[in-house]
Each structure stands twice: as C-alpha cells, then as structure tokens.
Symmetry: C2
Subunit: 463 residues, 2 copies
C-alpha cells in the first residue's frame, strides 16, 4: 500500500481532483471485465498530460510501488486488474483528439479516447477506422493498442497493429519515446513501436497514438447462413472468398441464437433450423459483387453446405443481422461464462473445431457450451456457462482443468491460446503453450530493459 | 581473417561444396548494390539447412569471428557488404518453397527464395504477392524481410512487414526461434517477429518465412500524367484517392524521362512537355472505376493540375507505362548516382519537395539531379549524378556534406532519412536524424540481448 508521504507526492503531481482513494473508485478502477479477481488498488491517478504520466512513473521507481495502466477496462484476461495495492493510472482524462490531416488520412489522439469516438470522428471526415468489436463503446485507444485489439473486421483490415502509424509512450524507466512519427515508411532500425503494441502495459504507458484512417466501405451487405456442420463452415468461407473480399466472416451456434432470442428478443434470421450460423459481410459497391454473392450462396445451397440464408437489403437490416453476432457476449455474460479465446491457422479450423467438440463432449458433459468467433481468421471463442447451482470457484476450477487439454490441443496444431484477448493474469501460467522457453526468456529480458524495477503491471503477461 | 582450423570446422559443417574462398566469389558475395565499399570477406558459406546456419553461428561465437548474412545483395545501404574479413553466409541455396495452403492463402519458404519466384508462385495459384520493386528478380525473401522492403505497391498493400505471418530465425546466440507460426491472431505477449523485420541481419539470420498471399487485383490500369509543379502533385493524389483505391502513386521528373528516352529508347508517354510526371495505378474492375478515373483526370486538367495524360488500354500498355518508372534506377546507375531515400508524412511532401529543391539548387548547382519516388506514401528518391569528370571520392564527399542539410530538413519535418533502403553502413552515422538517443540506446540493448558477442553484421545499423 502507498504511504501518506507518497500519496501526497502523487497529489502534488496530479492536482486536487487527480487522485481518488474512495472505496467506490477503488472498486471501479481496480478491475476489468474479468470478474474472477477482487479489486484492491491503493489509489487511482488521473493524469492529464504525458508529463504527469512520466512524473508518476518516476515516483513509482523511487518509492518502489507498482502501477497498473488502465484504459476502458473491457479486457477479458485481467490485464487491467489491480488486486495488490497498486496505483491505477487511468488514461480517461487524456481524451483529446489532437490532430487530423486529410492528406495523411491520419488522426493523432491521446490514449484515453474511446474507440467509438475515433470511429465516429473518422465517419465525420468521410473516412473509416476499421477496428471494431462489441466493447468499442467503452474501450480506449491506448488499451486497444496495448492489447493489439482485433474484432470483427480483421479478415479484411487486420488488427489494431496495422492502423498504428505512431506512438508516444512513457517507458517503465520514465523516458518519453516518440515512435515512428506517423510515417508510412521508415527503415531506420528496430521498430520499437511494434514492441509496445500488444505489450499489455508491461513495458510502458501509451500516452498518444497516430492512427491510419481509410476510405469508408460502400454499402456493406450482410449474409447470415445456416450451416449443417463444422466441416461445411470453412468450405463456405472458401467459396465466398474466391469471388469477394469479405470484410467479416463470423460464426455462432444455435445455442448462442437461442439466448439471443430468449433473453434479448432478437428475431431468428430465418425459420429453417441449423446447428451453426455464418455471418458474412462484403462491400456491395457494384452489381457484379451482389451477383457473385448470390451465386456463391446458390452453389453452397446446392452442395448442401448451406441450409438457408438471408441477405440484408438495407443498412437497417445489415445492422439487425450484426446484432445476432455482436450481442452474444453481453447476452451470455449473466450466465458467468468461462471464456476461451483460441486461434489456429484457417486451414486447421475444421479439424480444430471437431477436436475441441470432442473434448467438450467428454469434459463439459454437465455444462452448456456456446460457440462463436471470428472464424474467418481462425479465431474461436468457446464459452462454457456456469450451471446455476454450481459455486463459482468449483466451476472455474473445473474449467481450468479442462483448459490444459484444450490448450494442449491448440499447441499441437501450432495455435494460440489467446488469439485477441491477451495474456494478463488469466493466461499467464499457460503462456508456454504458445511461446517457446527461449521466446519467454527474451520477453523477460526485454521487460527488464524497459522496466528494470518491474513497476509496470507486474505479474501480468509474465510471472 | 579466419584461420585454417576455423575454415576446416566450417568445411565440416557445410560439406565439400559449401564453402568458397576463391577471389571471384569473395568479390561477388562481399558487396551489394552500393559500390562505395571494397569487398573483402574471408569466405562464403552456403548453408542448406537451418541446422547448418545454427552451427555456423555457434562456431562464430566460439571462434569470435563476424558473420554477414547475405541475400540477393540488391541493398542500397551497404547492409550486406563484407569489407573486414567476415564470413558471408549466403542463403541462396536455401531456396525451397516448403508449404502452400489454399485455405490459409499462405506460403512457407526458405529465406533464399527470390522475390519474383514468390510472385510467380502466387500467380500460378491464382493469388498475389503484393510486394514489388525493381530488384524483385534478384532480391530474396529473407533480405526483403530483414530490410522490411517497400516498393511500388505500398500505398495499397503496405510493406513486407504486413505479409509476414511467421518467421524462423537463428539468433546471434545460436537459438532457433519459430515466431508466430503463420497465425493471423496471436495475442500472447511481445511480438518478436516484428523486431526481426527490418533488423538488417543484426539480431539473427532469417531462415524461413510464412507469407500472406492475397486475391489478385483485376485489370490493373495505369495512368501517366504530366504535372506542372510539385504543389500540384499531391492535389492530384488527393483527387484520385477520393474516389479510387490507388495501388500505386509514383512520380518522376522530366530529367528521369530524358535518360529513359536517350539511353533505353523508351517512348515518351505523350508529347506535351511537363516538368514532372505522376504514375497512378488502380484496379479497373467495374465500369464505375474507369469512369471515376476519367472524371478525376478531367477535373485535374480543368484545374490546371495536370497538363496531359494517358491511360493504359491493355496489360501490355500498362506494363510499358510502368517501365517509365521501374527502369529509372537501372538507367541512371551508369552515371554513379548518389542516392537519397527520404520520407515525410504525405501532408508534408509538397513543402518538403520545395525545400529540398532549394537546397539542391544551392548546393548541387554543378550536378544533375534526378527526382523520383513513391510519393503517394511520402517516399522521395533523390538521385545526384556524378559529373563525368569528377573523381568518385570527391563527388561522394561533396554529397555527404549536402546530406547533413537534407537530413536536418527531413528531421525538422519529422521524416525518415531512410524510408525503405535501410541503414546499413551508409546511413549508420546519420541514424540520430531519425531516431532519438533513447531509442538508439534501446536498440543497442536489444542487439546485446540477441547477439551478445556482436558477431552478426557488426558495424551495420549501429556503430
């Protein structure tokens, strides 16, 4: 815990309103969307400038206390949890859009800007910020970058990494680094920017970012298709991809749909029952595209790979269909799901789904399993629901035991045990399923370079 | 120099044909396309396997000699020069395509595969490898990755970095790292892959790579436009980009065209004289696109931003127009050009060109200056031709002196002194114009982690 002297030092840096220690704030800012940890920070700092962030880090190095950088706290791996008396440094008051340039099609903003605000800002300037996911309304740009956020458009536009033209960070040592200056091309040595992207606040605190915006897609059109079996899913993907640049290829199971209908009153896309559903999106910007989509649908139908389907005829319909996919996570959250976020190469997805299904059938016999995910880029979200009568602790313990088997399978296929949710606290002890001992040794050494006193997000990512 | 005992150790690793020490080989493999350094390696090793590369690095660590990793040696910054008795490790016999998967649209190959071979391989499978540049016929994939090669399609498809789904490298310490396994999504800690991309052989030797292939563009159509002044260039870019996804926006001066016509017998694109030319390319895959291009051309013409223009009507015509841009480097190479490879943000290009022009007018009064570059992503290639009567040494000395001024200007605009050619030997002492002292300190520390005995490409990138 922080002693009174340190607290008063922090107060001096941040000003009267800049430091909170009341129980409600500690509770709120001490955790993310993982609900397995008890929040217990010492205080919450709200810097307004990079210089204040730097000063906080300098004091932490002197006084030897730990800092948890904090964005929108929508993470699902405990990366923003403060359970050990740390100082939480919230970026939420560093929320200004600083610079926009039409010619560069880029925007520079502070780390605390909400993802949806950047999307909105881009739209207002006839541009597009392509990173999108269910929590875009609360997550912050700094957190997106620190976790290399993915989401629903990765298949066409890539992850957050691909949009980052420049970063300002304060390292764990307290230096301010300005990385890459918004340039498209810069071949002057190791690109440190990419080390900070996905580093989960363990190397430095991101304070500003320059993001690439792009041409907005025209007339996005959505198809939802009923698919008879896992094996057919990827064949449907291949067929559509042969003629179209898909901007999404999502999947969910009939059990996911069941809860959407039951708990949220959403309408089924069509009456024909199907065990699995695929949601596709494409830019419908010429007559040829729609024709290609309809032909692909027809072919899949004839080959028995699709049971039924629907295509949006307006942006309203497209949005409604998207809700079938986007609302799953929120809808099932009341059932205390145990979340897996796995990925393999696209070519391995069919085999992977079969093998996971077998493990699930054996080991989760008494549990309900909800499948969904960004299957077009190999990313599966496997959610196990807690039986209402089971204690949380017992449930999580059982799931953790099954994890070992699921992760071993993932490893055997060269996959990732955390496709887009990061490692944080939750996956930390499983890191070796996806990274070699040599890689982990290098990661530790790199951590020691940028944060030699281990003050930034200790215990996250690396033990 | 290597002693006989070490040479025999190397011979044992590589087999009878695997080590060359004849003067012609030393000359050939001791240099790249920079002709300012005298090649003087001790021997050339031709490993055929990753295990052999590893063994070479282990011996180098024991016997304390230096290694220069060597690809197609088309570099322009001396990154592959061996002028100090080093062992050159050529990857050219590690030239197999190992694995291809239609569903992943990815190809795994050894580092010595020629860039054009991957382009060709992709085409044979109805896919596309979008990294392209004038030296694609000789450069190798390993070298492309080690320098994060850019080229003529960056504006749409990004640099080499964007295509790299996985890497196998042998570090300077001799460990084999397999990085990212070809996955699209993998949020399990620091992405070491991105450290090796653009590291110019100073951290490890890349032995294999998994590359993303994409849908081939349809009916690529090229426009060449005559432009009256620097200022108009970027306005033309903006106008076309408003309605089209350009896959190239290149520029060259009338002096470049002069040499293409005089020395290579190429035809002028049109008779109207113009001081500068823009070359644009777009995917002409629907009637609307061509209409948009013609409308943009018309608007630019009416506003006086374009003097004349021509649009390709066939793939043959498109190729012919591309030669106007692609052959410049080769054409002027006989005039011993001093090459600058600069970049700024796109929004700064107009101001940058004006300011460079002024420096050039003052400081290169007696020299001929050839302008060209990938101006759509902010990258300018400024080439100064050596007067026939001037000694090479005197010429380079003068250019180096002017450099300071050009680099200071670049720095003041937040630009890069090496946009896509890398640092190597040639830009090493200028690194601080684009990277801060703190960044350079971190780069040194990272180098020390992966190559503690400094055996890999010493003196390149970092002094």
């Amino acid at each position: 815990m922080l002693n009174p002297e340190t607290l008063s030092q922090l107060q001096n840096i941040l000003g009267a309103q800049g430091l909170l220690t009341d129980p409600a704030s500690l509770e709120t800012y001490g955790c993310d969307w993982t609900k397995t940890y008890e929040p217990a920070p010492s205080a919450i700092a709200f810097p307004k400038t990079t210089a204040q962030v730097q000063a906080l880090i300098q004091v932490a190095n002197q006084a030897q206390f730990n800092i948890v950088p904090s964005g929108g706290r929508t993470g699902l791996s405990g990366g923003a949890v403060a359970a050990q008396g740390e100082l939480v440094v919230s970026l939420e008051r560093m929320n200004k859009i600083l610079e926009f340039n039409t010619q560069d099609r880029s925007v520079t903003c502070e780390a605390g800007v909400i993802t949806a605000q950047i999307q909105q800002f881009a739209a207002e300037h006839d541009l597009f910020y392509p990173v999108d996911f269910a929590s875009a309304g609360s997550s912050q740009i700094g957190g997106n970058i620190a976790t290399n956020a993915g989401g629903i458009k990765v298949i066409r536009y890539g992850l957050t990494r691909q949009q980052v033209l420049g970063l300002e960070v304060v390292t764990g040592k307290g230096e301010i680094l300005k990385l890459n200056n918004g340039l498209v091309k810069n071949a002057t040595g190791y690109d440190l920017r990419h080390l900070f992207i996905g580093s989960e606040g363990t190397l430095g605190i991101i304070t500003q970012a320059t993001l690439q915006l792009i041409r907005p897609p025209q007339n996005l059109t959505v198809l939802v298709l009923g698919v008879p079996e896992f094996g057919a899913l990827m064949q449907v993907l291949m067929r559509f991809q042969a003629d179209l640049d898909l901007s999404a290829f999502e999947f969910f199971s009939d059990r996911a749909l069941h809860y959407l209908v039951q708990d949220k009153g959403l309408a089924k896309p069509f009456d024909t029952p199907a065990p699995y559903y695929a949601l596709l999106e494409f830019e419908n910007d010429s007559a040829g595209r729609e024709q290609a989509a309809l032909q692909a649908f027809q072919d899949c139908l004839e080959q028995g790979r699709v049971l039924d389907g629907v295509m949006s005829r307006s942006q309203t319909q497209a949005k409604a269909l998207w809700r079938l996919r986007e609302m799953i996570s929120e809808t099932i959250s009341v059932y205390t799901p145990y979340k897996n976020d796995l990925s393999v190469r696209v070519s391995q997805v069919a085999a992977f789904l079969q093998a996971v299904d077998q493990i699930v059938a054996e080991r989760y016999r008494a549990f309900e399993v909800i499948w969904y995910g960004h299957i077009g880029d190999g990313n599966l979200h496997l959610n196990i629901l807690k039986p209402a009568t089971m204690e949380k602790a017992e449930f999580f313990e059982h799931c953790a035991a099954v994890n070992e088997q699921v992760f071993a399978l993932t490893q055997s296929l060269g996959g990732s045990i955390s496709a887009e949710h990061g490692v944080g606290l939750l996956k930390r002890d499983y890191l070796s399923y996806s990274r070699s001992p040599e890689e982990i040794t290098y990661m530790r050494a790199i951590k020691a370079l940028f944060d030699p006193n281990q003050i930034l997000n200790p215990g996250k990512l690396l033990s």
